[in-house]
């Protein structure tokens, strides 16, 4: 579906006409990200992050495929093969630093994309499916990133793999067999490294597939916008091309500048020094920490320190960590305020900013050693995280008195200009 005023693809060139009547691929692109897709005219810069996430995935796939040509997924030589890439492969250092920092950039833009959705209520009807597919992409990204971090086979790779697969070991009765099955052994070794490499190569293409569904689902109702008011007429929209291709081009430039600064001038800033030590099953690092983008979840995992009746604290932590992401799947039904945008929801807006600070605190605690006072702080922060989504949002959507909405996007734009 699209808006009735969407431009139609009319190829002039006979070759394109011939192609269009047999395989209308250019028409598909035209309608998806070309002039055939009408988009609200009032999108702000926060709407750049979807395209930037796609660009980040593209960078990861291209650098990753070339790295895979030089990497050896074997416990005995994986670490050395990464150093071979860094030292002997032409521009290998550039590829590897781009891939390692590209993962961080990917998560930065995806987190901003998610928080944009949270603030502007992009998860609400009729875009629930866009939100749900986005969460599927997020879960796949986390799995891909985790397995990718194991591949260099440094100390943090090895112990990270051990801790994360150990989470499954917390499941009662079947936990340990599951952990052994996942690893292909009792501890991370060649079998684990090989299957992680295989899946790390596969999952990005699964992500690309789910992205197509994500965009498909988006094109049914069309893009949301900062007012949260639906498109009513043609003057509320502009064609995606050239208006948003131009704006996204500028956004992509800014993204690449930040990426380049990180890659060329601080390539190891976000990494952990211990991963430059070869994996050693006999020596446990003082602090095992995942990459920064997992820190909030790692903090939730470690926040459970007290057994509840017969449920061990470790199992509670595992359940809570998975629950912290899974609850987002229910968000469209937990927050049933008819108003989408946080601009017109005074109460919601305040709690939204509390949530942002809360997640940053969780992230900080997740990267800190598992000792007081960080455990205590992460317990309070994790308590707020669950309360925010499961208790506070449903209550707000009942009691809040939203500000008056503009009659249309165009009216809001003109009011802002005046």
């Amino acid at each position: 579906m699209s808006f009735p005023w969407a431009k139609e693809y009319k190829p002039q060139n006979p070759v394109m006409q011939w192609l269009d009547s047999r395989l209308p691929l250019p028409r598909f692109v035209f309608n998806a990200v070309g002039a055939g897709y009408p988009v609200p005219r009032n999108l702000n810069y926060f709407w750049n992050f979807g395209v930037l996430s796609g660009a980040a995935l593209g960078i990861q796939i291209i650098t990753g495929i070339i790295l895979a040509m030089h990497f050896a997924a074997n416990g005995a030589i994986a670490f050395d093969s990464v150093e071979h890439i860094m030292r002997d492969v032409n521009s290998g250092w550039l590829l590897r630093y781009a891939h390692a920092n590209g993962a961080s950039m990917f998560f930065i833009v995806v987190y901003l994309h998610i928080f944009r959705g949270l603030f502007y209520g992009s998860y609400k009807a009729p875009r629930e499916m866009v939100w749900l597919l986005g969460l599927v992409i997020f879960l796949l990204m986390m799995a891909t990133a985790f397995m990718g971090y194991v591949l260099p086979w440094g100390q943090m790779s090895f112990w990270g793999a051990k801790v994360i697969t150990g989470l499954f070991g917390a499941i009662p009765l079947v936990g340990e067999p599951i952990q052994t099955w996942l690893l292909g052994g009792f501890a991370p070794d060649n079998a684990a490294l090989n299957r992680f490499f295989s899946l790390h190569y596969l999952l990005p293409f699964v992500i690309a597939g789910v992205i197509i569904l994500h965009i498909w689902a988006l094109h049914i109702p069309g893009s949301s916008n900062p007012t949260g008011v639906e498109v009513k007429s043609e003057q509320d929209t502009v064609p995606f091309h050239p208006y948003y291709t131009a704006k996204d081009g500028f956004g992509l430039g800014v993204f690449l500048i930040v990426f380049a600064i990180l890659l060329f001038f601080a390539p190891n800033y976000l990494g952990h020094p211990d991963n430059y030590i070869p994996a050693n099953p006999m020596s446990t690092p003082a602090h095992i920490v995942p990459e920064w983008y997992f820190w909030p979840f790692y903090a939730i995992l470690r926040a459970f320190t007290v057994d509840f009746l017969f449920i061990p604290a470790k199992l509670l932590g595992v359940i809570a960590m998975f629950a912290s992401i899974l609850l987002l799947f229910f968000l469209p039904w937990l927050d049933n305020s008819p108003v989408r945008s946080g601009h017109y929801r005074p109460l919601f807006r305040q709690f939204f900013w509390v949530l942002c600070v809360d997640v940053l605190i969780l992230g900080y605690c997740g990267g800190a050693p598992a000792a007081e006072p960080f455990v205590m702080i992460s317990q309070v922060a994790a308590a707020y995280y669950f309360a925010h989504f499961l208790i506070i949002l449903p209550i707000i959507s009942k009691i809040e008195k939203p500000a008056p909405l503009p009659a249309s996007i165009t009216e809001a734009v003109l009011a802002k200009q005046a």
């Binding site: 009032n42 500028f250 430039g253 060329f264 390539p267 020094p273 430059y276 039904w333």
Partner: protein
Amino acid sequence: MVRLIAAIVGLFFSGWLLVSAVLGGTAYISEPPAATAESLFHKHPKEVEFSFEGPLGKYDRAQLQRGFQVYKEVCSACHGLAQVAFRDLQQIGYSEGAVKKIAADWPNQIASIDPATGEAATRKALPTDKIAGPYPNDVAARAANNNALPPDLSLIAKARHEGPAYLYSLLSGYEAQPAELLKQFPEAKTPNGLHYNPYFATLNLAMPQPLTSDGQVTYADGNPKPTVDQMSKDVAAFLTWAAEPKLENRHRTGLGVLIFLLMATGLAFMSYKSIWADKKH
């Protein structure tokens, strides 16, 4: 129904977390964690400046060669440099001939096979060989070092927080165990076979002070005086190069990429503004 279940789950998680926080918090306040020798006497790396720092930093070739000399005459007695080949030394200013000679004179020979008998043998190193340590395997290394394993130094500068400053501080930071420490923590006395160094995470490390006196290594004429401080700095710089040999290339490429991106982004911004000029938004 969804909201009811959510509220119950939320109350459980949040409630139990708050209970845990109160329990942990009371324990923390009533019995604050005792100070340890490490928490009081461990020192952060010293402030030190290197030529390769900053976005446009470059290695100082003369310093790297001095550092290599320290590595060769002191460190290599125990530590290998297994990711670095002799030929890589050409990057720090040695000629091809000099590299051949360094490899041939290297005391740690390379394991090989006797072509006549097929028996295990050793041969002189070639420029294409990696810089081997003195021990054939980890067991031999531990046996010779009181059960401590001297780590390979190829990546040591990137495998420690603030690597270059840390290496410099560690090498120049050996001292007698402070009397104050022994007074407060008599049980933390440095055990036999270990050596006190406040820059080491656990304060005591197996490596005895390697750079013990000024002039231990003789630098060629015109070079700075080989004090312990100078030698530590030079070898820290050399090991940083060993860990990150492409640093200069990276800085140079980064500068070009940034200039290009700034211009391209400027153009993209102008085209964005001109395309939107007639649209209020």
